[in-house]
Amino acid sequence: MAETNTASLTRGTSGSLRYAAGTVTALGVGVLLVSLLAFAGAVPTGTVAGVPLLDSLAVVLGVGALGMIGVGAASGAGLLDTTPDHTAGTSLAAVFGVVGFVAGGLVAAQTLGLATLWPVGGLAGAALGVGLALVPREDVALAATGGGFALVASLVVLTGVIDSGWSWQPNGLSVVFSADTTVPLLFGVAGLLLAWVGAQAIAGFGTQGKARGASLLVSANAAGMIALLVVLVSFIAVRGWGPMTEGVRYGLFWEPFTWFQVPIWDQWVIVNAPIVWLYWPFTMEGVAITNAVNGVAPAIVGTVWLVIGAVTFAVPLGVGTAVFLTEYAEQGRLTALVEVATNGLWSTPSVVYGLFGLAFLVPRIGNQSTLLSGMIVLGFMLLPLVVITSREALLNVPDEYRDASAALGVSRWETIKTIVLPAAMPGVITGTILGVGRIAGETAPILLVLTGEPFPAEGPDLVNLSAGFTSSFPFVEVSAINPDALLQSATALPYQLFATITAGVGDLSDGFRWGTALVLLLVVMSFYAVGIASRIYFRRKLDA
């Protein structure tokens, strides 16, 4: 078998080994993926071309297992150019100790019917797993454990120990495992383990093998995270797109754009211009019986005002704190205390902010749920994020800037204003945008202090240019703002989504829920997209 092996001196793995072990790995990964899909119900577990899907999976898994055992045996007999360690190491033993414990326990409880003695079976299984992993040389151990487990899993299905009518309810748990879910789970685990040991075999076992196996697992984990994100977003997008875009009408028209009366001529002049006309009911309407399509416009308006309010509240405070900590205060106990407090605020659960708003703000502001309370509570939540990111940005401004400015005789405040803050601005802006993305999706705090009617027809009417000086609650001095709206309850996107869940179905269609979820996700994700993109942009600019 040791054919034309002119490979490098450092790691000589023969072509046939690479080929065989690579096939084993590919089979393992394939079984893992198909099993996951079958578990999630994305692939029907019925018959494909006359053979039940799970049976064909079992055959594939069995072939892979036999291949792995073959590779291990050949390597153990010295037929392959591998560099196995004396023992497979504790990580393999730990993994198969657990696998063996579960398998042994199940066999004892299920097949042998030992109701209370299942831990004995579990321990026996664990001992077997650990023994197989630790006693033989590494190549044999890997084949015996990974390949062996996959082979057993495949045989359990092929021989009908677990057939389609199989089910099992563990003692005391209110869950029933049926064949349709258990077999994909079992095959998924077996496929993953097979791929892991197969990957180690590709690199000829030993330290290189361990590195290859670990890299497979860790990359699979990372791919899983990406998959989670993609699945979540696309799942909501697919279901929410239809309802969200229902009834959208748009067009480009040549219409009167503006018109005015010429004073002396006494004639009307009408200027025509192309006008894009868009009617998007889901984002432009509220919920009302008269609506053809119910929408979330009030919630969008509410979220926008909440974000604006929270930013006006938190950004000056946060940046001020960061400036004080970085530029004025001596680094010592006090700055440490503030930092601890900031981090504490960062990790404080959102619902606790809600309770705090309920106890502190609501009695002081209108004694009911108000938009203003919601703004301030979200501002409190945003505050630590702004402080942390601003402080980081300020610390990243090189001291040379400050020294150079001071050497020119510029005062400290002038230095901060004209040198330090502009240099730190990108970081502050990016951090704030990301923080806003987080608070825009928060439900728990506003649940307690902001919300009233869950599905209003209209959003908070905060901009009221005709309003003059009001005396009802003299809190807002800007006459362009309608202060009454600040003191009324409002709704917001995350709350509206929550309300669609708790309200029961009734007059709200399922599509309305998914549409709301999609709009919320789009709003939040666009904040994140802008934040991340601006950070990348500023980094590039700095590096260039």
Binding site: K210, S219, L334, P349, A359, G441, A444, L520
Partner: protein, 351 residues
């Protein structure tokens, strides 16, 4: 240019604040006091703040700016203090009425407002179970993800994965909850024959997925902060990249990684909306206790599901749940900060 010593000097030089700073401080204090005592009148001191800041800005810009920065710092610390004070104050009636029973009563009636019995034990148990499941998911996968990003990933993978993790952290909790409510709950009932809608297991899995990005990004920071020469030394001795990771980098970053896990656990403990909408929020212990597929309630979902109907002592009991949550999470946060600080010192304080 503060050269003062003692406390005043340390917090940035009250000594040379001058009359402008004094004025601004005075007006701000007046505003705060007004907001506490007579919130309806707060607009007048607020107007005074605007006027005095404008005046200060014109006459002595530097001092005014410094005073405002100091005031912002005080407010930031004050927020935490106020949260503590108000939570504790509002929860005192419940603690007084129930005594230690509020944390330990496990038999008989656990939650009955007509009898004024409030025991937080089912919620504590629910939070404990969901957090354990979440940690079992988020800790290993999160650390593995951090290792991949910082040690193994090629550049293109890193540039995809880092924003993806950040975006994952940005998905609102109510969206996770919504998915859990509409999809996972149904799935568990159909495929695993769960008797009712919602289970601790689903909540744990969902919360684990939500805590994952926190663990990844904090652990990644910790791993990246291990000095390059340490790794280079190991590689120069002929160790593979993976050996270096497991034997040098991860042990060196161990405290930072555990801080990351603690922060992730803190996120899981405080997660509200997913638990609220997925669970049925029945206030009883699962039977038997280890039935992770059973239905109960968590500290967070108690507050979110009962705030609307609660008043009086029951409201106070909700605040008691808030106190327990706050103390737990603050403890986790302090612990992780302590660990992180120790690590920075150990690695030569590379800031």
């Amino acid at each position: 240019m503060s050269t003062g010593t003692g406390l005043a000097g340390r917090i940035g030089g009250f000594a040379d604040m001058g009359h402008v700073g004094g004025l601004v401080v005075l007006v701000l204090l007046a505003t705060a006091v007004t907001f506490f005592l007579a919130p309806g009148l707060v607009v007048y001191p607020l107007a005074a703040v605007v006027v005095s800041v404008a005046y200060g800005w014109v006459t002595d810009e530097a001092t005014t700016a410094r005073t405002l920065a100091l005031a912002a710092t005080v407010v930031t610390v004050l927020v935490l203090g106020l949260i503590m004070i108000y939570l504790v104050a509002r929860s005192l009636p419940a603690f007084r009425a129930m005594g230690l029973d509020i944390l330990t009563k496990t038999d008989g009636t656990l939650w009955e407002s007509s009898e004024a019995i409030y025991s937080l034990v089912p919620m504590l148990w629910g939070t404990l179970i969901t957090t354990l499941i979440a940690a079992a998911i988020a800790a290993p996968l999160g650390v593995a993800g951090a290792v991949f990003i910082s040690e193994m990933a090629p550049d293109w993978a890193r540039s995809v994965l880092k924003p993806a993790v950040e975006a994952l952290a940005g998905i609102p909790s109510i969206v996770y909850g919504f998915i859990g409510f509409t999809v996972l709950n149904q799935f568990m009932m159909d495929e695993f024959a769960l008797p009712d809608f919602g289970s601790l297991f689903v909540v744990g899995v969902v919360i684990g997925a939500m805590a994952l990005p926190t663990v990844v990004s904090v652990a990644e920071d910790a791993i990246t902060s291990v000095p390059g020469p340490m790794k280079d030394g190991s590689l120069a001795l002929g160790a593979t990249g993976w050996q270096t990771t497991t034997d040098v980098t991860v042990p060196a970053a161990f405290s930072g990684i555990s801080a990351a896990v603690l922060l992730g656990v803190g996120r899981a403990v405080g997660e509200t909306m997913a638990a609220t909408v997925i669970l049925a929020n029945v206030i009883e212990l699962p039977d038997p206790l280890y039935d992770v597929f059973g239905n109960t309630i968590t500290l967070t979902s108690l507050i979110a599901s009962q705030y609307g109907i609660a008043s009086g002592l029951q409201m106070s009991a909700l605040f008691a749940a808030g106190v327990v949550l706050f103390v737990t999470v603050l403890g986790l946060s302090l612990g992780s900060q302590y660990i992180e600080r120790r690590m920075q010192r150990k690695l030569g304080g590379s800031e």
